[in-house]
């Protein structure tokens, strides 16, 4: 499996800053406790990165598919480069990519389940690489494959959570929903 964009909550995501904005490139992020990968930060993004996909779309975590779609469309109208004000295209484009990512994840039931699980475990997806960068899986989204990936995901999560101070740096949302998510995860494992 590809090494994908899992990072420990509280760390910054890795990736590159958009080069046209500033030559400040690959700036080390704020001090982090556990890090496995070189980090770079997107400029002016300190805040948005703390948002979960739900917060980014401005919907409750119980939001229905309809709500997700509507929220996405509203935000797309705001941030898409075709309609954003001329001076802010760069900034809005970054936002659009985030919103797009959130939408793609949440509008797909299996990926939403995985995301919910990761959130519950206190693992925050980095915004640029948070998608399971496994193109085979995305191309062939077969249930069996999804399941096997799910299993390896779980083992990885266990490994990680055993090596850290169990849930101490979870987000509030994650803590609140942990119990429910674990229930739903169990049921999705059964299916």
């Amino acid at each position: 499996m590809r090494c994908h964009g899992l990072t420990v909550h509280g760390t910054n995501h890795r990736g590159f800053c958009v080069p046209t904005v500033s030559p400040v490139f690959l700036r080390p992020t704020r001090p982090v406790t556990r890090i496995a990968f070189p980090k770079a930060t997107l400029k002016n993004e300190g805040l948005t990165m703390e948002f979960s996909f739900y917060e980014l779309l401005g919907i409750p975590e119980s939001g229905s598919l309809m709500e997700i779609k509507n929220a996405y469309k509203q935000l797309a109208r705001k941030y898409h480069p075709d309609v954003s004000p001329p001076g802010r295209v760069e900034e809005y484009t970054k936002r659009f990519i985030q919103v797009q990512e959130a939408y793609e994840t949440l509008s797909d039931p299996s990926r939403r389940a995985m995301y919910d699980h990761d959130m519950a475990k206190g693992i925050n997806f980095a915004f640029n690489a948070r998608r399971r960068r496994n193109y085979h899986d995305q191309v062939v989204e077969q249930k069996t494959e999804w399941k096997s990936r799910w299993q390896s995901q779980l083992s990885e999560l266990k490994r990680r959570s055993s090596s850290k101070d169990g849930g101490g740096n979870m987000s509030w949302a994650a803590r609140m929903r942990q119990q429910r998510d674990e229930l739903s995860n169990e049921s999705s494992n059964d299916s």
Binding site: K39, A76, P81, D82, V83, A129
Partner: protein, 644 residues
Amino acid sequence: MLATLSLYFFLYEPVRFPRLIRSVCLAFSLKSIVHHILLLCCIAQRKRFVVRFRGLAKLVCGIETDYVTMFELWMAEPAYIVTSDSETTGEEKSSTFSEIAIGIDLGTSQCRVAVWSGSRVELLKNTRNEKIMKSYVTFKGDTSSGVFSQPSLEDEMFSGATIFNMKRLIGRVDTDPVVQACKNLPFLVQTMDIGVRPLIAALVNNMWRSTTPEEVLAIFLVELRAMIENQLKRRIKNVVLTVPVSFSRFQLTRIQRACAMAGLHILRLMPEPTAVALLYAQQQQQNCHENMGSGSEKIALIFNMGAGYCDVAVTATAGGISQIKALAGSTIGGEDLLQNMMRHLFPESENLFQSHEVSEIKRMGLLRVATQDVIHQLSSQSIVQLDVDLGDDVKICKPVHRSELEEANKKVFQKCESLIIQCLKDAKVEVQDLNDVIIVGGCSCIPRVKSLVANICKGKELYKDMNPLEAAVCGAAVEGAVASGINDPLGNLDLLTIQITPLAIGIRADGNKFVPVILKDTAMPARKEVIFTTIHDNQTEALIIVYEGEGEKAEENQLLGYFKITRIPVAPKGIPEINVCMDINAANELRVLAGVGMPGSYKHVIPAMEVRMPSVDDGHGWCAEALNRSHGATLDLVTLLKKA
């Protein structure tokens, strides 16, 4: 006064001096004082004053001279500017938002132009009052000219001086089967069959004069631009151009270059069916307003088949947002139908037309036109009499049945079917979920095309509220208005199209595999990354070769560029983490970024690289092969496996 003006102009504007004299002479009438003011403003390049004074001048002394046009004539650049050779289209300028971009549907055989005129899309007509302009350029003597004043297509086509099908030739190397198929067109397409750009030439004064598809397109666009400016009475700069889905990024740069040569700036490039999708979104929204409907999501399949390309798109539309779900495209179209039919009707045509003698070119042209007519007529009749005299006692006189056309083009139609099925699959949409099926393009009136689409869509009725020939250009004009920041009080421009990448973009890794970084059908703008690692111990350099396409093997795809990462820290294989990130920005520019990380390190250990793609130049089909030959597998990468 005259002297002052002359002096001013002589000193500052020597190029425009003769034109000034003419205008000044014009101006010396009774109302000369007002004229002078206006003239001075023109000279001082103050358009705003000219516009303001015009009304005053008309009111006070009845001056009718159109100084605005005059001003623009002065300011007009020479007809054919070749701008610098760079690939860059530049940042979007602020002026982008002050004028409405023109929509151009630059087809393989025909071209249409439209613009948003305040409340609706208006199609522009040429001087002969036609909305359709044939996309071809005839070379004459030392100068070249387009078609707008040409009396007849046939006469021109037989001379060998007319170049067309540029859209099929542009950005292709001579090993490409599409280029090979162009060899029996009535002009010279010479190939070396080694992966370089083909030689294209027009017969002028009994001499083959070489040209390039970009140049031909640029000449065509210059004419088009002159026509548009003449009608709109303003200068134009920004355009929205429709392109085939299957165009690679490299081909898009060729189109951009042609536009730059013609002094046009491409605001957006839209795959043809996505332009149709936007028009559909607009219509749905208007319906929605009328019926006070809820505006639920509607899914439409769009099938577009023109002369050169066949494209399919699936779009989900709600509330004026057209979200493209999947795209599929291929280089098949009316041109293939025509060539297959020519072979069918006149099997020896290929051997006959090898030497490109003048007489042969004439025959080729005759046969072409006759076959084209037959195909057109077969759309409405089931049997047509073909009657063509090719000279030298070669005459073809026979009835042609519609089934012959369908039989000769079986493979083309099969390919169309597979494209539609593929596109539906990629979009994860079932046929019964489709709300509308739209079929557009020049081939949409062929009964077989209609029936094959209807068959796949289980007999669903085809969408009727669209002119199949004008849908793409209307969509482009709407996008031109939206992207130019134009507001419509009635909400007709409350639209958005969310485009996707028609092809995957990735690098060569894992042996000779193509590993996508940005997948096909990813929403744009986009930014994705994949991590790779070295395959040799102590490997300090890695070659990043960027491809675009759908093939599993690297060389099956279009090469976009390459660069080398050096100074990778010495480490056992599999340890360094080479982070390859691809970024497509709002202007659809692709940047490839690569950085090297080591486990335990907080930042990239060497300065990262950022390379704008495509960086390859014309026709370097052999480039990847040469890279492979000289570097072998020593600089290879593999995708980083997750550590157990």
